[in-house]
Amino acid sequence: MFLKTKIRLLVNGFEYDLYIKPHWTLIDVLRDEIGLTGTKKGCGKGECCACTIIMDGEAVLACLVLAIQAQGKSIQSIEGLAQEGKLDSLQDAFVKYGAIQCGYCTPGMILTSKALLKKNPQPTVEEIQQALSGNLCRCTGYVKIIEAVRNASIMEVSK
C-alpha cells in the first residue's frame, strides 16, 4: 500500500497537519482523522449528496474529492456553520420548519442550501428544488426542506 504523506487542510477556519494516504477521500479524512463525523457517508460514490461540504464557496461532495486535492482550499463542514454558539439561519429554519426527520441527509441539505443562498440570496422554489435535486432524503418528501430554505432566505434578506 501507499505510504502516508503529510498534508495541511484548512477546515472550519482551523489548520490541520495530517498524515494521510494519497488515495484517501476528503470524507474519510474529515470523519476519521479529524473527527468531524457530522459529514455523513450515505453511499461514498457521489450518489446521495449526504456528504456535501463547502469548499471555496462551492458545494462539493467530500466522497468525490481526494484529501490531497483539498490542500490550500477553505473547507467548511456542518460543524463550522454555527457561529459563537448561534445556529446559522438555515440550521434555525430546518429546526423551526420541521425539515429534519432522521437527520442523516440534514448536514448535506443545509450545506448545499448554504452554497445556494450565498450565490442566490432569494431563490425561487424551482431554483431551490434544482439546487437540492441531488440531495436524497427518504423521510421528508422534501416539502418542509424546501419551505425551510425559502424561509431562511427571507430571514437572511430581511436582516
Binding site: M1, R31, D32, L36, T37, G38, T39, K40, K41, G42, C43, G44, K45, E47, C48, A50, S77, I78, E79, L81, A82, L87, Q91, D92, F94, V95, K96, Y97, G98, I100, Q101, C102, G103, Y104, C105, T106, P107, I110, I128, Q129, Q130, L132, S133, G134, N135, L136, C137, R138, C139, T140, G141, Y142, V143, K144, I145, I146
Partner: protein
C-alpha cells in the same frame, strides 16, 4: 374528550432537531472506541450454491488482520420472523441462497486491510440450480432452497369469510384482474452499521442502527450462545428505517462475534451498495383479484390469490403475507371474502416489512380494480367508496373492531377537493393530459401479535422541574421522541423543553417490542401517559399538603400547580419538586407505567381471524397527475389527503410523516424497481435505482377529520404510515382518469404508457 392543551396538538420542533442540524447527533457509524478494529463481510457471488470449503489461512496471515470467522465459528443459530422456525444463519453454514448471502467476516486494523483480506479468502462453491421467479419456484421440479419447504413455499395463508361463491352469484357486476408490484427498497440513507465490544467478563455491549433493539438483544444472546444478562444493546441516532432495520442482521452478529474473537471493539459499516443488494426489500407480488358488486355499488364479494416473492429467507414474511390478505377487509364493508396467499422462497434478496407492510400491494390492486368497476358501471368512484366505507362500531368479517373512524368524513373531504381541482382544470390542449385519482386506506395503530406487546416508560423528576423520560422505543426519524416527550409534558403540566428524553439502553430502559406497525405513539404513548400520571399522583400529594387541599384537586399546568377553582393557591412546579425532595428525609419522584391494549384476539396468520389493533386510522388520498402522451412521462402535479389520525399530537411532525409517505408513494408508483438478472441486482446504486428527489416533490394539502380515539394517548392514533397505502392507487387512478388506461403493474414507466396508448389508439 378533547380539551385545551399546552403541548398536545402544537407545532413544536423535534427534541433532537438542533443536534441533527449541527451534525452533532451520533449515528452508529460515527462511533469509535480506542483500539477499535474494522470489519468487512465476504458475500456470495452465486444465487444458490453449496459451500464446500473456505480457506482463510492467507487472509489471516495478512498483516493487520486480527480475526476471520465463518459459519464454522458459530453455533449455527438461524434467525426467523415471528412464530415460525428460523431459516437464516448469520454466516452461511453449508449453502448460500442469494447473491449477497454472508459467508465470512474479517476484523482488521483498518477498513482497507479488511477489504484486502476479503480477496484472500478462497471459497470453494458447488453451484446449484437457482430459481429467481416466484411462479416457477412453486413447480414440483424447481430447485429446493430450504429442505423444510416443499415447492419453496415459505408461508401460506388462507382466509375465508361468508359464502363467497353464493355472493358472487348474487352480484350484478364481477371483474377479475391480475396485478403486479415490483420489488422496491426502503431507501434509508444511513447504511447498516454496528459497533460491538466484548469484554473479559463475557459481556457484549452493542451500538447499532436498529429500529427495534430488543430483537437484536435477544438474538445476540441466542446466536452467540451467551446468557441474556451478558448482552447490552444501546441505541445511537438512527438514520431511517422504514421497516428495513427491524431485524438483527449479519452485520450486527459479525461485529459481536469478531469482538468476542479479538477482545477488541469491532465496527462494521456496510456500504450502500451492500444495503442495496444484500439486505432487505419490499415483497414483490402477483395478485389475482376478483371483486363483485351489486348494481347500486355495494361491494358483495372479493376473492384474491396472492403470490409474494419472499426471497431467500422467511424474515418477517409470515406477517407480511397475513397483512396483504387481511387488509382486503378494510376500509370497505365486505362480508364475503376469500384471500389465499403464498409466500415463496426464491434465490434473491429476502423481503420484509416496509412502510405500510404488505398493505400497499393489496390495496393498490383493490383500489385500482374498484375504479375500473366504477367506471364500467357508470358510478362515480367517490360515491362507490362512500357507499361502502366502514363506520365506527363495525367489525370486519375477520374480526377487526372499528372504534373511532373518520373514513366517511375523509371521503367527503376528498370529494370537495376533487370537485375544486376539476373546476380549476383547463380544457386539455396539446399532448399533456391531466387526471385526478382517489385511493383510501385503513391502517393499524400498533399490531397485536403473539409474544410481548407491552410498552413501558419511566419518569424521573428533577429538582429544577425537569423531567427525564425513558422508554424502550426508538425514534428512527418519525419523531416519536418528541411526541412521547409532549405527552409526558402535558400530563405533568410542564413544557416540551423541560423533558430530557433518553434513548434505549437494554440495561436500563424498559422492555419494548420495537418500532414497527405505527405502534409507538399509540402504545408507548399510553405507557408514557401512565408513567407521568404516576409521578403526578405522587407530586399531587405533596402539593395537597403544601396548599392545604385535596390531592385530587391539584391541577398541573404550564410549569405551575394550583388548586382547582382557586388559581391563586399555586406554586411553581420546580418548587413543588424541591418540597418533595427536601421535606423530611425527602422523596424521590419516579413514575412508572406500562401499557398494551387489553382483550385483543391475537390474529392467527393462517386463518386471519383476530383483531390486529386496538384502533384503526383511515383516510382518503387524492392525486392529480399530468401525463405527456408524446413522451409517456408522468408527473404528480399535486396531492391532497384527508385523514383520520385521531387527535394529532404534533401537527408539524404529522405533516412531515404524511409528506414523506406520499412522496415515497410517488417513487413506488412511478419510479422504483429493483432490477435483477438471474438473481443479480443490476441497479445497486442510487443513480440507477431512482428514488424521488426534490424535483418530484409536489404541493400537498393535508386535512384531518375531527376524530378522537378514546384508547389513544390524548386521542391519538396512527399517522403517516397508512397513507402510503392509498397514495399508490390514487396516482394510478389519476393516470387512468387522464389517459383512460388503468395500469395493473407498478412502477408505471413511460414505455408502458406509450405502449398502452398505442394499443388503445390501434383498437379505436
Amino acid at each position: 374528550m378533547k380539551r385545551d392543551y399546552v403541548n398536545i396538538g402544537k407545532r413544536l420542533p423535534r427534541v433532537d432537531a438542533v443536534v441533527k442540524a449541527t451534525g452533532e447527533a451520533k449515528y452508529a457509524g460515527d462511533l469509535s472506541l480506542p483500539g477499535m478494529l474494522h470489519g468487512k463481510i465476504l458475500r456470495s457471488p452465486y444465487p444458490h450454491a453449496r459451500v464446500l470449503d473456505i480457506e482463510i489461512g492467507n487472509a489471516k496471515r495478512l498483516a493487520g488482520v486480527r480475526a476471520v470467522v465463518t459459519g464454522k465459528d458459530t453455533i449455527g443459530f438461524k434467525a426467523g420472523g415471528i412464530s415460525a422456525q428460523g431459516d437464516e444463519p448469520y454466516l452461511a453454514l453449508n449453502k448460500v441462497r442469494f447473491i449477497g448471502d454472508a459467508v465470512a467476516a474479517i476484523a482488521a486494523i483498518d477498513e482497507e486491510t479488511a477489504e484486502e483480506a476479503l480477496d484472500l479468502i478462497r471459497v470453494e462453491y458447488e453451484e446449484l440450480p437457482a430459481v429467481v421467479d416466484p411462479l416457477k419456484a412453486m413447480d414440483d421440479d424447481a430447485p429446493l432452497i430450504h429442505d423444510h419447504a416443499p415447492r419453496n413455499i415459505s408461508f401460506k395463508t388462507d382466509l375465508a369469510y361468508g359464502d363467497v361463491n353464493q355472493a358472487f352469484r348474487e352480484c350484478d357486476y364481477v371483474r377479475q384482474d391480475r396485478f403486479e408490484t415490483a420489488p422496491i427498497r426502503h431507501g434509508f440513507l444511513e447504511p447498516h452499521a454496528a459497533l460491538a465490544v466484548w469484554d473479559h467478563s463475557g459481556r457484549v455491549s452493542f451500538w447499532g442502527s436498529k429500529q427495534s433493539p430488543y430483537f437484536t438483544y435477544r438474538n445476540l444472546a441466542k446466536a452467540l450462545n451467551i446468557p441474556l444478562s451478558q448482552v447490552r444493546v444501546i441505541q445511537p441516532y438512527i438514520g431511517g428505517g422504514f421497516g428495513g432495520k427491524n431485524e438483527m442482521f449479519n452485520v450486527d452478529f459479525c461485529a459481536a462475534l469478531l469482538s468476542q474473537k479479538t477482545g477488541k471493539p469491532v465496527k462494521i459499516v456496510v456500504s450502500q451498495e451492500e444495503v442495496l443488494f444484500a439486505y432487505r426489500q419490499r415483497h414483490p407480488t402477483f395478485i389475482d383479484l376478483k371483486t363483485g358488486l351489486k348494481k347500486d355499488g355495494t361491494i358483495l364479494a372479493l376473492e384474491a390469490d396472492i403470490i409474494a416473492d419472499g426471497g431467500a429467507y422467511l424474515s418477517i414474511g409470515a406477517l407480511s403475507l397475513y397483512l396483504m390478505c387481511a387488509f382486503f377487509c378494510m376500509p370497505y364493508r365486505l362480508s364475503n371474502m376469500k384471500a389465499k396467499g403464498y409466500r415463496v422462497y426464491t434465490n434473491t434478496q429476502p423481503s420484509c416489512a416496509m412502510r405500510g407492510h404488505g398493505v400497499p400491494q393489496s390495496r393498490f390492486a383493490a383500489e385500482v380494480q374498484l375504479d375500473l368497476a366504477a367506471r364500467e358501471m357508470g358510478i362515480d368512484p367517490v360515491d362507490l367508496r362512500l357507499k361502502n366505507a366502514l363506520k365506527p362500531g363495525e367489525t370486519t368479517p375477520n374480526g377487526f373492531k372499528i372504534t373511532s373512524c373518520g373514513l366517511e368524513e375523509s371521503i367527503l373531504g376528498a370529494r370537495k377537493i376533487i370537485d375544486r381541482w376539476k373546476k380549476q382544470q383547463k380544457k386539455d390542449k396539446g399532448p399533456k393530459k391531466r387526471g385526478i385519482g382517489i385511493g383510501c386506506y385503513g391502517y393499524v395503530s400498533g399490531p397485536r401479535m403473539a409474544g410481548h406487546n407491552t410498552a413501558g416508560a419511566v419518569i424521573k423528576v428533577h429538582e429544577d422541574g425537569g423531567i427525564s423520560l425513558a422508554t424502550g422505543s426508538t425514534d428512527v426519524g418519525q419523531g416519536s421522541d418528541t411526541v412521547l416527550s409532549q405527552i409526558a409534558a402535558e400530563v405533568l403540566g410542564v413544557r416540551l423543553e423541560d423533558i430530557r428524553y433518553g434513548m434505549v439502553d437494554s440495561d436500563i430502559t424498559p422492555l419494548d417490542p420495537g418500532t414497527f406497525g405505527s405502534r409507538v405513539t399509540f402504545v408507548t404513548g399510553n405507557a408514557v401517559r401512565i408513567a407521568a400520571e404516576d409521578a403526578r399522583r405522587q407530586l399531587a400529594q405533596v402539593a395537597a399538603d403544601a396548599l392545604e387541599a385535596n390531592s385530587g384537586d391539584i391541577i398541573f399546568r404550564d410549569r405551575k400547580v394550583y388548586v382547582a377553582g382557586s388559581p391563586e393557591r399555586s406554586m411553581a412546579f420546580s418548587k413543588l419538586v424541591k418540597i418533595a425532595q427536601y421535606s423530611g428525609s425527602g422523596k424521590t419522584i419516579l413514575g412508572r407505567g406500562y401499557w398494551a391494549p387489553e382483550g385483543l384476539e391475537v390474529p392467527n396468520f393462517k386463518t386471519g381471524r383476530g383483531n390486529m389493533s386496538a384502533a384503526y386510522s383511515f383516510g382518503a388520498q387524492v392525486a392529480e397527475v399530468e401525463v405527456d402522451t408524446e413522451t409517456g412521462f408522468m408527473h404528480v402535479t399535486r396531492m391532497a389527503m384527508v385523514h383520520d389520525c385521531g387527535q394529532p399530537v404534533n401537527e408539524m411532525l404529522m405533516e412531515g410523516q404524511l409528506e414523506g409517505s406520499a412522496i415515497g408513494g410517488v417513487g413506488h408508483t412511478l419510479m422504483e424497481e429493483i432490477v435483477r438478472k438471474d438473481g443479480q441486482t443490476m441497479n445497486p446504486s442510487f443513480l440507477e435505482y431512482r428514488m424521488p428527489s426534490t424535483l418530484d416533490a409536489c404541493p400537498l394539502d393535508i386535512l384531518h377529520t375531527d376524530t378522537y380515539e378514546e384508547l389513544g394517548p390524548f386521542g391519538a392514533k396512527e399517522t403517516g404510515e397508512g397513507i402510503q397505502v392509498a397514495v399508490v392507487p390514487a396516482i394510478v387512478n389519476g393516470i387512468h382518469d387522464a389517459v383512460g388506461v388503468a395500469f395493473k403493474r407498478i412502477p408505471i414507466t413511460p414505455f408502458m404508457v406509450l405502449d398502452a396508448l398505442k394499443d388503445k389508439s390501434g383498437s379505436m
